[in-house]
């Protein structure tokens, strides 16, 4: 079993997965914000992407930039096989952890 992923890492990986071939930095940032329902700092997302790529969970490729970007290239991300495995392992671990757990209703101990 691979190392379990944190919430933010899961969010980034799932965003890449759901965006498919359109998963580049800006789109991932927007998707993560929509998923977590809060404003997320770009630095946090890019640092996570860098770390995930170094761990072999995602891979990236460069494509030509557009005029609005000042001609700067776009980096597209895709889930690597190891990333899919890590997501699956994390999901299984969380499901097992929550199995048969019944939390008390709000405000009661």
């Amino acid at each position: 079993m691979s190392e379990l992923l944190g919430t933010f890492e899961q969010s980034v990986l799932l965003s890449i997965f759901s965006l498919g071939t359109d998963a580049y930095g800006r789109a991932i940032l927007s998707r993560v914000q929509a998923t977590l329902q809060r404003e997320v700092a770009a630095g946090a997302v890019y640092a996570t992407l860098e770390r995930l790529e170094a761990r072999g969970l995602v891979r990236s490729r460069l494509e030509a930039g557009t005029a609005v970007r000042g001609g700067r290239a776009r980096r597209y991300y895709a889930l690597a096989a190891e990333g899919q495995r890590a997501l699956g392992d994390t999901r299984r671990a969380l499901t097992a952890m929550w199995k048969n757990v019944q939390l008390p209703t709000q405000g009661r101990s």
């Binding site: 580049y24 940032l29 640092a47 980096r75």
Partner: protein, 192 residues
Amino acid sequence: MSGQAPTPPRWAEVLLERLLPDHTRETVAGDLREEYVDGMLPLRGRARARLWYVRQVVSFVPWFAKEGSPMGKILLLVSLFTLACACWLAFMETLLRHPGYAERIGVALAIALICAATILVRMLHVGFRGERWLWAGAAVLIGLGGQAFFRNARAAHFEGFVFVISLLLVLQGVLMLATLGRSGGASVRPLS
């Protein structure tokens, strides 16, 4: 209207490009510019979009700090702490309207600016491609800190915060010299 495409604050964009490692510089700066032009500007207006951009640039500072050498990280932490102390001192002086506060605020702000400059020490190195700036910066910090220390020690009213800030300034200078001495400036080289 000039007809030119809107762009984020130039200084912030340059700062971002200095902070980022080489292999992500172009793509990240491009993404943020795209979001600024297509996302934030129409939605929030110019002022709030610019503020958003600056906040995003600031969010890269922890990444930048993490990539640096251990000595560089200590230097960054000390610089941030000194900056916080100096700003606090300036604020308190204004609040209490201490006799002679105008002069003290000036000194505190000068210290704060110097601290801010040392936080960007690696960017200075990247920008000017030379060690002499670091040596000069270290000498200024040690000189300023030492002078503040001795002036404070001789003053009628001993100020604890001036004492702390002066020591931190000297420490920053020494750390800068240490980063230079260990690897001939290599520990403050551009990120790659």
